[in-house]
């Protein structure tokens, strides 16, 4: 039987701003190689949780363990060392506007490796080919479409071959076809490279297509109200909020 390895562990996490928690008592584990999705309505604390998981926001209390190391307690060089093991693609792409797509992806390689320039170029080409951007290598971020920006951000997040990639709202602002293309890409990368994905989204189609496991946050409860596979949550009649989220079928003319 395949060994299940815990790659991220969140323990008793209380997170928010100015010491006022938005989410409380969060506990879950993410296993190696799975596509783990964090869902919930607007304002439920998904982004706050993500910011804690990627070290942009310190928790009020609790621990964020990444690959066995406590990111929430780490500072300075120690924190940077842990962060180099993960990749993050932001909702807007957050590409550096003054650099080409290639330079964006190459940046971390230049900073953290001493590889020859030509080798770095090869690695960048490979990453861009993986995300289908081999024809946009020398374009500036301003010249890319929304979907291309997200692909470039994904390539940049993969630059150092991290074992975990966090995606913040990858489908936001994309048409269904582009969004489905991105979902395919995530599934391919997860299966071929064994990358663990942690995705924050509320795009139902994406959730159903790519997620292995889901946690659902709720604004009033301030915590996780459901955990499971998409099938489990879809058939969960015990919580009307969860059921309605997965089974929203309002037709024209219905009240």
């Amino acid at each position: 039987m395949k060994q299940i390895e815990t790659i991220i562990k969140i323990e008793n996490l209380y997170a928010g701003y100015n010491n006022i928690p938005i989410i409380e008592n969060i506990n879950f584990k993410v296993f190696k190689g799975e596509v783990f999705v964090i869902i919930g309505g607007s304002g439920c604390g998904k982004s706050t949780l993500l910011k804690n998981m990627i070290g942009l926001l310190p928790p009020i209390s609790g621990n964020v363990m990444i690959l066995g190391e406590n990111l929430s307690q780490a500072i300075g060089k120690e924190k940077n060392r842990i962060l180099q093991k993960i990749g993050v693609a932001f909702q807007s792409g957050a590409l550096f506007g003054s650099m080409t797509v290639m330079e964006n992806v190459k940046l971390v390689l230049k900073e953290f490796t001493s590889l020859p320039d030509s080798v770095m170029d090869d690695i960048v080409w490979l990453k861009l080919k993986l995300v289908g951007l081999e024809k946009a290598v020398f374009l500036m971020p301003g010249e890319l479409s929304g979907g291309m920006k997200k692909r470039a951000a994904l390539a940049r997040a993969m630059a150092l071959d991290p074992s975990i990639i966090f995606l913040d709202e990858p489908s936001a602002g994309l048409d269904p076809t582009t969004s489905a293309g991105l979902d395919h890409l995530v599934m391919e990368l997860a299966s071929s490279l064994g990358i663990t994905f942690v995705i924050v989204t509320h795009e139902l189609a994406s959730i159903n297509a790519i997620s292995d496991r889901i946690i659902m946050l709720e604004k009033d409860a301030k915590t996780i109200i459901a955990t499971g596979t998409p099938e489990q949550l879809k058939n969960d009649h015990s919580n009307p909020y969860v059921y309605n989220f997965f089974n929203r079928t309002i037709h024209k003319g219905e009240k």
């Binding site: 990627i54 962060l83 180099q84 932001f90 957050a94």
Partner: protein
């Protein structure tokens, strides 16, 4: 054609009847509102019938008017209000108007702060902002020390690029301002000095003023306006576009990556620009002196014999500090950029204001220090 709505008041066996005709949209309703409410407030009412048969359009504004009439009628003690001939398609909107009005929004209205509360809040905000500013200065100082210890970690390509943009590109504006300052100062000084036959001593004034004070100060103010604002805008935009967050999660220190190159670049180019400014300012003075009939060599000899190396070095020492202050204020204000459409504009303004204030304060400190040191 859209006619403005009208109403007719009549009396029948059931009491008063108000018949409204036309479109009850925002424009029509606003036209009707005052007249109809005035009429209802003033006329004698026992029972009221509101006939909406001839209302051919009604939107949320019209629905609000109907609801308002209903409320007004109730306060006037009317026994019965009949709304008749209301078209079926309009009734959901009127129900909506009623439901929204019945909700109580009072608990959501933000509390108005009293004068004292407001001042207290401002003071508290200023304290936390100052604390944040000092924290950033600490972090920047540490990053600078680390970078100087390990010069290989400095992003030299970025540093030279910033030096070019802030330095070489600023040459024309620095030249223009310094030349005019030198010229005007020489003219103004020549008038009273002529009375004593001491026009040549204008050279002493120009030399000492430009080298010790005006050269460094003019250059610093130009850089504060030009480069501090540019730094704040660049870093502020990166903050808004999540580029700084992206750097952080890549394990790259944004201070080392963005701020250190800018500070090093400005610290190097400020003294160089100041030397250029001194020369051009002195040239401005030379133009006046030669126009007064003195040979240029006399002007040069006068300055060379009066201005000492101490003055020159003292002026340059200030520039190093001014360069650090300008770059730091621009970068920190950019780094502090909040979200919102005016955020970058606010940061840019604050960068220039902070830069100029710091330059003025430190210029004063240097003057006192030089006085006691005898420089």
């Amino acid at each position: 054609m859209n006619f403005l709505p009208e109403f007719i008041v009549s009396k029948d066996s059931h009491g008063t009847r108000i018949s409204i005709t036309g479109r009850l949209d925002a424009k029509g309703t606003s036209n009707l509102w005052q007249a109809i409410t005035k009429k209802i407030s003033s006329c004698d009412l026992s029972n009221l019938t509101l006939d909406l048969e001839r209302v051919n359009y009604l939107d949320t504004a019209g629905a609000t008017l109907i609801y308002h009439i209903e409320k007004l009628v109730r306060t006037r003690g009317v026994k019965e209000l009949f709304i008749v001939n209301l078209k079926q398609e309009f009734s959901p909107l009127i129900e909506l108007a009623k439901s929204i009005k019945q909700k109580d929004f009072s608990d959501q209205i933000p509390k108005k702060l009293s004068f004292v509360d407001n001042k207290g809040k401002n003071l508290s905000d200023t304290f936390s902002e100052t604390k944040e500013f000092i924290t950033y200065i600490g972090e920047i100082t540490w990053a600078l020390i680390q970078s100087l210890k390990h010069p290989k970690t400095i992003r030299w390509a970025d540093t030279f690029l910033v030096a070019e943009r802030a330095g070489v590109d600023a040459l024309p504006i620095v030249a223009l301002i310094s030349f005019i300052v030198g010229l005007v100062m020489a003219f103004q000084a020549a008038i009273p000095m002529r009375m004593f036959g001491a026009e040549l001593y204008v050279a002493n004034l120009i030399g000492i003023a430009m080298i010790r004070e005006l050269g460094p100060l003019m250059t610093a103010i130009v850089l504060a306006g030009r480069s501090a604002s540019a730094f704040a805008a660049e870093i502020g935009t990166m903050r808004i576009n999540e580029e700084i967050d992206a750097l952080t999660v890549m394990g790259l220190d944004p201070i080392r990556f963005l701020i250190v190159p800018r500070i090093i670049a400005l610290t190097i180019i400020t003294p160089l620009l100041t030397i250029f400014s001194n020369l051009v300012g002195i040239l401005g003075g030379a133009l006046v002196i030669t126009s007064l009939g003195y040979p240029i060599i006399s002007y040069y000899n006068q300055i060379a014999s009066f201005v000492e190396w101490n003055d020159f070095v003292g002026g340059l020492a200030k520039c190093f500090v001014f360069g650090i202050l300008i770059a730091t204020s621009g970068c920190i204000r950019g780094y502090q950029t909040q979200s919102g459409p005016s955020a970058v504009g606010v940061s840019t303004t604050r960068a220039v204001v902070t830069g100029i204030i710091l330059i003025a304060v430190f210029d004063g400190i240097f003057s006192i220090m030089y006085y006691y040191l005898g420089v």
